[in-house]
Assembly symmetry: C2
DNA sequence: CTGAAAGCGCTTACAG
DNA sequence: CTGAAAGCGCTTACAG
């Protein structure tokens, strides 16, 4: 079954290819009669005409797809929510958003260009600077390091750590610990949150928070609870890197008969579905990922359409504490 | 900065464009001297030549990207794992795998073709039959309904339900219930698992399992525990749709002083990280999503490269019970 | 063993 | 208000 081209439509409608192109792209519509326009549209639909992406991209040098590089981090519901919101927002602006998981040994910049020729690329964590440079040299806007501090940070990671501390302090806690993830892939985010927690304690006149590292194993959670509650100056509250780890701590605390929140208050981050389903339900920090995604979509369309003018300020997604029963 | 084209490389190397194309694509290499080949490769690298996807796609009518439509289901770690594995396997075969989240109101078939011109598309759940037909008419292989029963089912959902029942029965349970999700987006999978659970009970000579529906709320979990444990014939064990719900049930059971597994054994599905971290740790079913992804990648390359010959049998990912302490 | 040339489907100045 | 024509970068028969 041969492909239907704009030439076919033009012939069938008895107009030129240029006219078909104008109608399909809504360009120079003032120069085209409504009758011609209707005719072209009808004919295109009848023949089942679908414009060719490669034809258009080849000619115009720019596609309609923005490529988003998914970092090689622990899968989380949070980033899934963000991806969906970004897809939706970009779709409304007329762009397709595709996500790629860089496979080991894939040369991101070259292969991306080779396979996709995106009109913009967004990297959640830091793309290689070499990659980013090549893409930018080729004229492709790159929004990079959404998880890193800076003008385009999607969520204020520093503030997350600080918010947890302020919440715990407002509850009267003074010996507050921070439970960080020990996974290297999460260091980027962890470091910022720890810094935020430290800064907040300092501002609040609290002792510097003790940092305990834990991994995604039962032993690790148990050890962390021991560290937190034993010794000379036990913590009365702990801010945890994420809800999964917070829930692990909650379970480990119960196993050791440490009452939550009486003996140890716990607050997580992410507001995963299980946070509301645990007993007691987990207090946590929620992020407005959907808002952040919309802001990013706006930012991207600006970058794509008017790269010469400086983009307006970028708004990171809002944070809120979900006040349940563990803190 | 003007783009470097194959013509530039040809001129700089003093050969023809055809020779450059042959060298870059590894075609007709026997017809090209090693010297010429080395020269072209070196020149290409020096100039920073990257082939244009749209040029190639336009000419050959086929790109190197396979598009995977992510279903609009509750985000889960399981599908993330699958996506990464599929990306890796496809990258090894020379294809880029991109994921798209269909936004509301997006015409999948037309827009996909328009933006991406994929060489194959895979749909986790059922693409609209109209969409699939149009794609196939255009000569694009479509692998669809990976979650549905059939030759290309990635994971045997029916067997998951059955496996849970067999495990519980082997432990001596006879009054076994099935706790299903009440979310419409999960019905596709839920229905198959319930059927599998029923069939297994029949084969084992057990009474038909009672089905309880529950949602992702604490009240729902509490009600489910009450239903399960009260009444004339309380269940001594329950197979749950997924680990999130199973963990919710576990928490609700504890809140009502129902001992697990003594009073109520629980087995989930998915083996999410928290399954190992709960107290007691959750027994569950793990799926070999990585194996399934590799099988799918093989299947796809076959379909793309030799669409005329029938593909070999497709192997669904293996299932295994993770025997922890709740069942 | 290599090159000249056509053409994939589109858009866009330009001419009328 | 509309059309003819060039050309984006590539691949591939074909000729030498």
């Amino acid at each position: 079954m041969a492909r239907v081209t704009s030439r076919d439509v033009a012939e069938a409608a008895g107009v030129s290819q240029a006219t078909v192109s104008f109608v399909m792209n809504g360009r120079h519509l003032n120069r085209i009669t409504d009758h011609t326009r209707g005719l072209v549209l009808r004919t295109a639909k009848e023949l089942g005409y679908v414009p060719s992406a490669s034809g258009r991209t080849l000619k115009s040098g720019r596609s309609n797809v923005v490529t988003c590089i998914v970092p090689d981090m622990r899968p989380s519901e949070a980033v899934e929510v963000f991806k969906r919101a970004l897809s939706g927002a970009l779709a409304n602006a007329g762009y397709a958003c595709v996500f790629v998981h860089p496979a080991a040994g894939l040369d991101v910049a070259a292969d991306l260009w080779k396979y996709l020729e995106p009109c913009a690329v967004v990297g959640l964590d830091k793309l290689g600077t070499e990659d980013a440079r090549r893409l930018r040299d080729a004229g492709t806007p790159v929004v990079d390091g959404l998880l890193l501090p800076g003008d385009e940070q999607i969520i204020d990671q520093h503030e997350i750590g600080a918010l947890q501390m302020r919440h715990l302090a407002a509850l009267g806690h003074r010996q507050i610990a921070y439970a960080a993830s020990d996974e290297a892939s999460e260091d980027l985010v962890t470091d910022q949150r720890i810094a935020g927690a430290r800064d907040a304690c300092e501002k609040l006149g609290l002792p510097e928070p003790r940092i305990v590292r834990l991994g995604y194993t039962p032993e690790s959670a148990r050890d962390a609870v021991i560290q937190l509650t034993d010794g000379a100056a036990p913590a009365s509250a702990v801010a945890v890197f994420g809800d999964v780890l917070a829930l692990a701590l909650l379970a480990a605390a119960r196993a050791r008969s440490v009452a939550v929140p009486a003996d140890l208050a716990i607050i997580g981050v992410d507001d995963i579905p299980l946070a509301a389903l645990s007993v007691p339900p987990l207090s946590t920090i929620a992020m407005d990922l959907s808002g952040a995604a919309h802001a990013l979509a706006h930012h991207l369309t600006h970058l794509i359409q008017t790269p010469e003018v400086a983009p307006p300020a970028f708004h990171a997604g809002a944070l809120s504490v979900i006040d349940r029963q563990t803190a």
